[in-house]
Symmetry: none
DNA sequence: ACTGAGGCCTCTCGCAGCGAGAGGGTCAAG
DNA sequence: CTTGACCCTCTCGCTGCGAGAGGCCTCAGT
């Protein structure tokens, strides 16, 4: 009739039995009655409430807030949803930026022109970029201006020629590095160190954000001041280079949403 | 020099001391040595490893996978990152959709004076609309709020989607409903019940997604088969019907101009 | 030698939303 | 009466730490 056990409600709602028990526990959806055997029995009202729960859950509201919304009719629903929207938007942006980071790096290193063009623009935040740019210059000096220029060009009006130049810069680093190390050049050599610094700047540009920025800046200081650290860093960075290069190649092959 | 305590590493990296201890616990980043006093001491190698950890963390990889990637050089890092990118993209899309849904709902709830709203309630005093809503809620209890939300959202969607089909469908329901109720037909009449079922289906179709879709389909079945449930549902849904009828009447009028 | 201010340590609980058992009653049908 | 399908109440596990509680270590100042 109008009485349903957990299992039935579970089938009806598509939720798991465990989930329904959980909702009971937290007071979100209590059964109409509980039999002496401990069985939970739900009535029509509970199903209707469950329907409302599902609606709000669909919007991504945390269960606790759903309960508040449903239990207190005077509760400011609009305000609640608005706050929630802010949270959601932030999350959405975060993920967009993560994807962007990958795609941008990809475009810079391996890039096969046109496909990545889209990725470069996607989710681009100019304010952050300016801030970041200032930091990069401050940190690495005017020597990295070339890459910033390239990036700016890429972002403002990305022309194939500019893109090619940008790409060429990376190809330059990469091939030089490979050649030098392949020829057995010592890591201490001025040439390799210069390449490392360029790579260093590139890595920073590609992913450093707070709090990583802090970490990177401080570690970079260590790098500058401590010969011991520098030696170790260079030994590790070599692997990092290869790794990133390989990774980016595969990203290039991966479909871009 | 080359030795750092947790606190120092924390400052360098921007992570919390607790986080570093956590990384130690899970074996992601162990100190170089642990003093007899139990103090954790980190060396340059650990800082470099930390840098790589931060890099991967920035990409959103779960700590466990970071560890695998860093600890097993033969591990297919690229494949790991590749699948991770897929996850990221999916998450990003999910959040975008949530925000969109919320925006629609919010816009509808708020009546933010957009064109749709105006068109929809043209010639209809917005104050009266709010009043009407309040009345509906008061009369039928806060339980109908979900209906109002759903309908408002649905209206937005309908407006943008295949409006014509909707309008034909709804005009049919609406005129029949108006006629029947205007003639004093009881809610229990088979005719009105059929109309309500159609409305029900419409609302469900307008926003149901899995698993809600399941819930709705099954609840609709209940509605069809269970008199008791039907009675309760109708008590709740009556408000929906009236509200929808009034709103859509004005909506239809606005479209006719 | 003593004291206070910071570090540092190891627990342990808590958060969201359940999944996945373990170990054991209950109900309807044959 | 038995079998199989359901139901129950624990309790741990997952993520990535935050937030204490309770207590030891170390260094600088008196």
């Amino acid at each position: 009739m109008g009485i349903y056990t957990v299992g039935e409600v579970a089938r009806l709602s598509g939720l798991s039995i465990r989930a329904l028990r959980h909702y009971d526990e937290i007071g979100l959806l209590k059964p109409m009655t509980v039999g002496e055997n401990g069985y939970r029995y739900y009535g029509a009202d509970e199903l209707l409430r469950l329907q409302q729960i599902l609606f709000h859950r669909e919007l991504g509201l945390p269960l606790d807030e759903i309960r508040q919304v449903l239990d207190a009719p005077d509760f400011d629903r609009v305000a609640a949803l608005k706050t929630h929207r802010v949270r959601l938007a932030a999350e959405a942006r975060r993920y967009r930026e993560l994807v962007k980071t990958l795609d941008t790096t990809l475009a810079a290193l391996e890039g096969d022109g046109k496909m990545n063009e889209k990725a470069m623009y996607k989710g681009f935040d100019p304010k952050k970029q300016a801030e970041y740019e200032a930091w990069v210059i401050e940190r690495y000096g005017p020597g990295v201006q070339w890459s910033i220029d390239a990036v700016k060009t890429a972002q403002k009006d990305w022309k194939q020629a500019d893109f090619d130049r940008f790409q060429a810069e990376f190809a330059d680093i990469e091939s030089n590095m490979a050649t030098s190390l392949g020829d057995g050049a010592p890591v201490e050599s001025e040439h390799v160190q210069a390449l490392m610094r360029r790579l260093h700047a590139w890595v920073a540009r590609s992913w450093a954000r707070p709090p990583n920025r802090v970490a990177f800046a401080n570690l970079a200081d260590l790098y500058d001041q401590n010969p011991d650290f520098r030696a170790r860093y260079e030994a590790k960075a070599e692997g990092l280079t290869e790794y990133l290069g390989a990774a980016m190649k595969h990203f290039a092959e991966a479909e871009l949403e």
